[in-house]
């Protein structure tokens, strides 16, 4: 087992700093986009694309998965992606529910505080 303990942690500090710079730049782009007028769907698509890139950078380099065995990557990643995609099954119901709400004209609950 001593061979395992000696196993080096691949990746230089220079590499990690460049990954960090990429992550900060992508975050800055997200904040910039927040103030650009565009449709919610387009904004959501761009933001999720950027977030997936950021997540991939973190998993691959910071969490070191790029340097692990392929068998470990194949065990962890695909099933997670499939499970998350399965959650999209709820959206048709969400869109259906949008048409069913607001049938009653009750005022919504409002926080009452002493200041107001």
């Amino acid at each position: 087992m001593s061979a395992h303990a000696e196993e080096h942690f691949a990746g230089s500090n220079k590499l990690f700093v460049s990954i960090w710079i990429w992550l900060v730049v992508l975050t800055a782009i997200e904040v910039f986009l927040a103030y650009k007028p565009m449709s919610v769907v387009l904004m959501l698509t761009i933001l999720m694309g950027l977030s997936i890139i950021k997540a991939a950078l973190i998993v691959a380099y910071f969490m070191h998965l790029k340097f692990e065995r392929l068998s470990l990557i194949l065990t962890i990643v695909p099933m997670l992606v499939v499970c998350i995609c399965l959650l999209f099954v709820f959206f048709p119901d969400s869109f259906r529910a949008a048409g069913m709400r607001y049938q009653f004209k009750e005022p919504p609950p409002v926080t009452t505080t002493e200041e107001h």
């Binding site: 927040a34 933001l47 709820f90 969400s94 709400r101 919504p108």
Partner: protein, 226 residues
Amino acid sequence: MSTEARAVHFPAADWDGGVHPYRVGHRKLGMWLFIVSDSLTFSALLMGYAYLRASNVWPTPFPFNPSILFATLMTFCLLSSSLTMVFGVSASSRGDKAKARKWILATIFFGVAFLVLHLYEWNHLIHDGLRPFSLPADWVTAFTSTDGRPPSPLFGATFFTITGLHMFHVFTGAIYLSVVAARVNKLKHEDVEISGLYWHFVDLVWMFVFPLIYILSVDVGGHLAK
């Protein structure tokens, strides 16, 4: 040693026992499996938030200062803490325990900075009147749709649940790293690396919480200022 040599020649022997098929220890594999299950927890919460948002009139109340400014600073803190953590793990792999401890303490510092900023921002929203199941009165008037449908009162429920669970992860991560920093001389390198996996995961979750909760809730039209 003989099993290792056999594994090299016949990959199928990986699964015959006596070797680590993934070339990681069982503790590290355990942390990876925990991370997978925790990812599904956060995915389900974010999906629930998306479900509610898609089927309701949803308020977009966040001003640049303090909400977006603070959330961006918090993102910066978490990203920097990930960098210091990876430096710590790197130092630990070279056997430099003192440097590893120093970097882990820097990681804890950024984590605590994140918590302080987040609690300040929570406090600001609670002071404005945001509650799990009700909105501040001025949000309701500002975000009622043109055909008279009021905004969903569940904004606070999704906001406090998702950011609160994430905050709890940062909090437990800071405690976990404190223990690792205190015991770094006794721990094996792999144990330090495992604590790093957890910390990077907390950072990774925020990469989805930040755009979905904050960026998509920016008050672009300045409805609240009117």
